[in-house]
Amino acid sequence: MPLTELERGRVLEIVRRHGSEPTRLLQILREMQEEFRHVPGEAMEIAAAELGVPRPQVQGVAEFYSFLSLLPQGRFHLLISDSISDQMLGSRELAAYLAEKLGVEPGATRADGRVSLGFTSCTGLCDQGPAGLVNGLWLSRLDCQRIDLIADAIERELPLAEWPGEWFAVEDNIRQPGLLLTGPIEPGSALKLAVENGFDAVFTEIDRSGLRGRGGAGFQTSWKWKFCFEGPEELAICPVDKREKIERYVVCNADEGEPGTFKDRVLLNRYAHQVFEGMTLCAGIVGASQGFLYLRGEYLSLRPRLEAVLAERRSQNLLGVNILGQAGFDFDIEIHLGAGAYICGEESALIESLEGKRGVPRNRPPYPVTHGYLGRPTVVNNVETFTAAAAITLKGGEWFASHGTEKSKGSKILSICGDCARPGIYEYDFGVSIAQILDDCGAENTLGVQVGGPSGTFISEREFSRRLAFEDLASGGSFMIFDQSRDILQIVRNFTHFFAHESCGFCTPCRVGTSLLRNELDKICSGHGTAGDLVELGNLGRFIKSASHCGLGQTAANPVLNTLERYPEVYQARLKSIGFEPGFDLDGALETARRLTGRDDAMAHLEQEES
């Protein structure tokens, strides 16, 4: 349906409110989605013309992000988290209940346009699931009773603003504070100290602290900041004062998409000042004047609060021009929202997304630290890293370095969910044993733990004496617990489907490989696998790991490989026991033929012989 004159005007207004800047494309498309419940083809055309970017690029972005849709969604768009921890709390059954109640299938929009339903990757509410999103806003602790009420509100077209606040309520659930979570620093206190003592002194403390990136990869923070300040190699011969003139950027990676991670949700809710203070300190050290908080789309509910904190900091001269009276110390932070793409947690994909493009990881070298946002030196750090940097500035590098282990200094904030009595946020000095953590959160009869999320490591009960540290078990913060009642293959299937869904599709091994891996695993799980399929599963997993372009592909097979190694018997138990049984689903193999001939009658189906 063509847009009305009024609607065309609205589209132009949205684009122009963003200064007709191509880097704002994703933000523009998000607003169109909100306005029209989808991104109309005509709107893409108007945006392309106004921004001066080719139409395929706009379409490419619109089709890349899960939260953007080319087909109209309902006025109430409900997404149910499909994360394993939500599934364990009954999210699938609840979604079925909701679908029946509302008369709409998952993935569809009801004919009257009032409501649409779908599944989404982890929403970051694993400690208070089953969770979901309504028009992008969090819904926590769903149960049948709550769903009855929600369905009723939807049928009455009750505006979201009038829905009871408790439906959206999200608890911080800080169960065990440590080095950082004992309380936020006084806003501005670290910056004041930095302005008094100079940024060289701050840098010395950060360096002394041994702080390593908290996103999981663990690159030394002070080195990253130093490389950013030094800039690209071709500048190495420049005098320092000339180097200072190039634009640099500080980016906070709040695209906490690893299933089971929600620590940044809590840090941004309760420690927002400290996060922004850490970013501002970094800006002072590297000489950046622009910062970005890349906030995952699932955390839309946090945005108003974060904007308020930024406004407060501007009014206190903790952001803006001549910060705290220091001439030339200019820095401000802009919030960019993601739109449902796990890959954007990868730093170069995140930068592409910040530039308004598809979240496709870049070729390296060059590295983002010298050629990042708009090709300029850019620091990308995790929310927790900036939080720690602010505390270190105030309390000193020694304070931090005296905790943790030799190679992993300080503390790590964990998001714990799954089978335990007290899911929530736990902070530990590095070096703590897995057994200790399980004991603290009240986990019993534990089968295994997924440390670091699906891309991390699945450890079995024989390994609970292992330790949380970069040199043993590294984690970006996800810690999912599974007890003896759980089916390992169900867990692995969930993760493997997740990666196939989130692969960006840039490189062949990950684009094709993650889907092949998913299909192969499904085949085994459905009882059609043979011994050869198990060999194939392992080979395919190792291939994807070694041949893929970025961290997503390189870790996508970890759940399969980890569990094949630890629980081969679980896989073997699912195999067909008879040697001459066909290694495939006979009826499934006819699906293409049925589709082509348009038949679906009984004669078009085959029973598999069971002998």
Partner: protein, 244 residues
């Protein structure tokens, strides 16, 4: 006197110039590194991963990775060629490649790479995707079944034709080649048969119409010569042209 910096590829000393990629240095030295998404006329892309080599023990993409002093590069090894064969098989099963009925058969780089890598079957289950064919343009056919997402047409249209006719939309296994026009059809785009973008497709996804089977099967490029010879002859000549 300064000597030219060098790397070694499979034990052979190869000189390189400042800023060159491994692929460029190798090609100039007459060493073939298999590739599909790379074409020296355009900005390197690094997506097909066929040119994966080992640099000091680490997997790198030769088409994007800069050559540097002290690099020991492995290229023609069993392990790397196995990886490349697997990638090629994945490209075959991902799309719908019916070689016997394809006009490009015999001139197709995907086929050429498969011959070179001794690929004898698809190995993996076929996806049989349902992709839209676009025959709307009077002079050019777009058969998405054969697209391998190398983005050479995207780059050619952008960098040489200045038209931006093509782009990639979708995500992951759902990626698809899209066309710059309101209808999404090629006939409504700015594409002309003579554009660079119509000439660079390594497979039969973009075919210029009215020229069917002018060279008979059996006498086509890869019917007679392996892809390493063909590719090196072409790309070394290009390199010399640039320097001459």
């Amino acid at each position: 006197m300064t000597t030219n910096p060098t790397i070694t590829i499979d034990g052979k000393t190869v000189p390189f110039r400042e800023g060159e990629t491994l692929m460029e240095a190798a090609t100039r030295a007459g060493i073939y590194i298999p590739h599909l998404c790379h074409n020296p006329e355009f900005t390197p892309h690094g997506s097909c991963k066929l040119c994966t080599v080992q640099v000091n023990g680490r997997n790198c993409r030769a088409c994007t990775f800069p050559a540097d002093v002290g690099q020991t590069v492995l290229n023609d090894t069993q392990e790397l060629n196995d990886t490349r064969r697997t990638i090629t098989q994945m490209l075959f099963v991902e799309g719908n490649h019916f070689c016997p009925s394809c006009e490009k058969s015999g001139n197709c780089d995907l086929q050429g790479a498969a011959y070179f890598l001794n690929m004898l079957d698809g190995h993996f289950p076929y996806f049989y995707p349902s992709r839209q064919m676009d025959a709307s343009h009077p002079d050019v056919l777009l058969d998405r079944d054969r697209c391998i997402f190398c983005e050479l047409c995207v780059r050619a249209s952008r960098e040489v034709d200045g038209k931006n006719v093509f782009g990639i939309a979708g995500r992951g296994i759902g990626n698809r080649l899209v066309v710059n026009s309101s209808s999404g059809l090629l006939k409504d785009s700015e594409l002309d048969a003579g554009d660079k973008a119509t000439q660079v497709c390594p497979v039969g996804a973009i075919i210029v119409k009215h020229h069917g089977f002018e060279v008979p099967i059996g006498e086509r490029i890869y019917d007679g010569k392996p892809i390493d010879e063909v590719s090196l002859a072409k790309e070394m000549a290009m390199g010399e042209g640039e320097n001459g």
